[in-house]
Symmetry: C2
Subunit: 138 residues, 2 copies
DNA sequence: CTCTATAATGAAAACGATTTTCAGTAAAGA
DNA sequence: TCTTTACTGAAAATCGTTTTCATTATAGAG
């Protein structure tokens, strides 16, 4: 299970395993859409009612630092997090239900080379994100 | 001049022309990199010292509403604004000095069709943004 | 299994960015 | 010139996030 992997990773980096952390990790690892810290808090409190919002922030910070989760930029805001993509993948978001999918295989080399030539920029990174409707929401 | 065009557009949409608004518009229209509300405030106060930060927020809101400026998402934050792209253009940002350039001619149709087929999504929008070093910063 | 150092906790306070409220001011059309 | 009302800046309120701090509990040592 993904949650187990994340907890192990936290431990291996010298972080302790606590009930609060476990509750947060389990919610985020299972999420099929990006969750804000407040949403994580609300959902994780069902498992662990003593949980504080501050701990959610602190745990998300560590998960992001270990590249286990990543922040998702959306028109409505940029506070939500989702499981990090592995390797060179990009996001595809459902505009209705928020479902997050990853895809790979973007071949932008030709485009990037042409832009570099036109602008004189040395291009070092790119963000590509798609929005649409998932099968269920069409 | 771009500032004139924006002021005219504001007027045509029923908004009044004031000194505070003129000061904000002139700063943002001339910017070569994305500016946060606070940066706009600081720069515009040189022209119009009575200016309030609240008015900067309110003016930016109207300029965005009229699609004259757009918010720029960056790893460091998503509060800054830049002149809006015209038509189907994307952003290219210098990671060192922040210079913003627009480019067009992204041919993603093949990619989008393949992702749509693979995922079942009806893709309706895409965000593409490039980061690198401009000629001067390399 | 117990002890101990210290990482982690939650509550409250502080913080930065943004929005709202409000009474006074000024743009623009009559 | 007058009048309506959009616009203003200051202050207060709000929202998301971070810091502070005293207490708790994990994890490694003994």
């Amino acid at each position: 299970m993904l949650a187990e992997t994340w907890l192990k990773a936290l431990q291996e980096h010298g972080y302790r395993l606590t009930d609060a952390r476990r509750a947060v990790v389990e919610i985020v690892a299972l999420a099929w859409r990006a969750l804000t810290p407040l949403e994580v808090f609300d959902q994780a409190r069902a498992k662990y009612p003593e949980l504080g919002l501050v701990t959610v922030y602190r745990t998300l910070e560590k998960l992001e630092e270990l590249h286990l989760i990543q922040r998702v930029h959306q028109p409505e805001g940029c506070q939500a997090f989702i499981t990090a993509s592995q390797g060179h993948q990009h996001l595809l978001l459902c505009q209705n239900c928020g479902q997050v999918m990853f895809f790979e295989g973007d071949d932008l080399d030709t485009l990037l080379a042409s832009i570099a030539a036109k602008t004189g920029y040395a291009i070092r990174e790119h963000w590509l994100q798609l929005f649409g409707l998932c099968r269920n929401c069409q």
